[in-house]
Amino acid sequence: MACAEDARVTDLAGPSGAAIIAAFKAAKVEFVAALPDIWTSNGLLWPLSRDSELRLVRLSKEDEGVSICSGLAYAGRRSVLLMQYTGFLDSVNAIRGAAVEYNRPVCMVVGLLGKEADREAAASAVYGVKLTVDVLAATGVDTVFIEEPDDVGHLAPAIERAYATSRPLVALVGRRVEA
């Protein structure tokens, strides 16, 4: 019975990495700062690492990416920080200061590794996933959820909104990104 349920959940389609990359480009993103996350690795990070229109900045630690994106924004260049939720949690102080308190358009795409496909992130039994949602709510950062393929349509407008209002953004990726 458990196996059958798992199969049903696994069969739910995730968002397309190609569509996410297209959304970045539609929002005039030129740089992606990233640390690998198995949730987004094959579908998104590997393809964008080969994309000549996007410059990948490989990070040693995720909080660097918050500041790199803010620095790029001062220079008039758009960027996205791609990381796992563990990196988000590790970066909360940088997000607090360099993004939220300073009103900077730092756009983050955060993979929710292990989130169950058939329940909302806020109700996840994975402690780190639920904590991420709770922390995000406390920060007041604009948040969009990318679960199903059609949800990618929310991404480019959200990035545009972040730059138009000079406010940070987090896009939570709730399913494994498909190649």
Binding site: S67, I68, A73, R77, A94
Partner: protein
């Protein structure tokens, strides 16, 4: 050597460089070389060099100086590897080594005095690294090191100057300071 005298030497050759300065260095630099192109607001300790990397990548034709602290660098040591890998030719990473957390009561750094910061940068992949403990030597070397293709890493072994540092955190973190910086950046375009 005195930090204020090092900064005065650097200010003399600054030209239109963007300067990202952290905590105690930020206040002292603003007194010595006030400019809209100074960014003292880096949000969290250790994040100055990462802001500078973003600026350097975004404005490759513009020199970017970081005036980092040794304690701040320890909080974001991976930045050395990230910068070396991104390899911005226009980034100059100065670290003021005083061996203490000066803005937080001057407590000593772990392993105070035994850390080779330039050695760490070299091992991380910086192509050019320097250490100075003498003002005359530093001043004489400045034209040559600024002519190098970056990223360049410079350790300055310093002590505070005689003038007390005024810690004005409202200025550092205020909207007006970031607005001033953005306006100066926009004016470069």
């Amino acid at each position: 050597m005195r930090r204020d005298e090092c900064f005065a030497a650097l200010a003399a050759v600054r030209d239109s460089a963007i300067v990202v300065a952290t905590y105690t260095s930020a206040f002292e630099w603003e007194r010595i070389s006030p400019s809209g192109l100074n960014l003292p607001a880096t949000g969290a300790m250790g994040q100055g060099s990462s802001h500078a990397l973003g600026l350097a990548l975004g404005m490759p034709g513009q020199r970017v100086f970081v005036l980092d602290g040794d304690g701040a660098l320890l909080m974001n040591l991976g930045t050395l590897v990230t910068i070396a890998n991104a390899a911005p030719k226009n980034l100059f990473h100065f670290v003021c080594e005083n061996g203490t957390y000066e803005a937080n009561g001057s407590h000593p750094l772990p392993n105070q005095g035994a850390i080779d910061f330039a050695g760490l940068a070299r091992a991380a992949g910086f192509p050019h690294t320097y250490t100075f403990d003498d003002l005359e030597t530093f001043s004489a070397a400045l034209p040559d090191l600024l002519a190098r293709e970056g990223p360049v890493f410079i350790t300055l072994k310093v002590v505070p100057g005689p003038e007390p540092v005024k810690y004005d955190y409202r200025w550092m973190h205020g909207d007006a300071t970031r607005t001033r910086f953005q306006s100066a950046i926009d004016a470069l375009a």
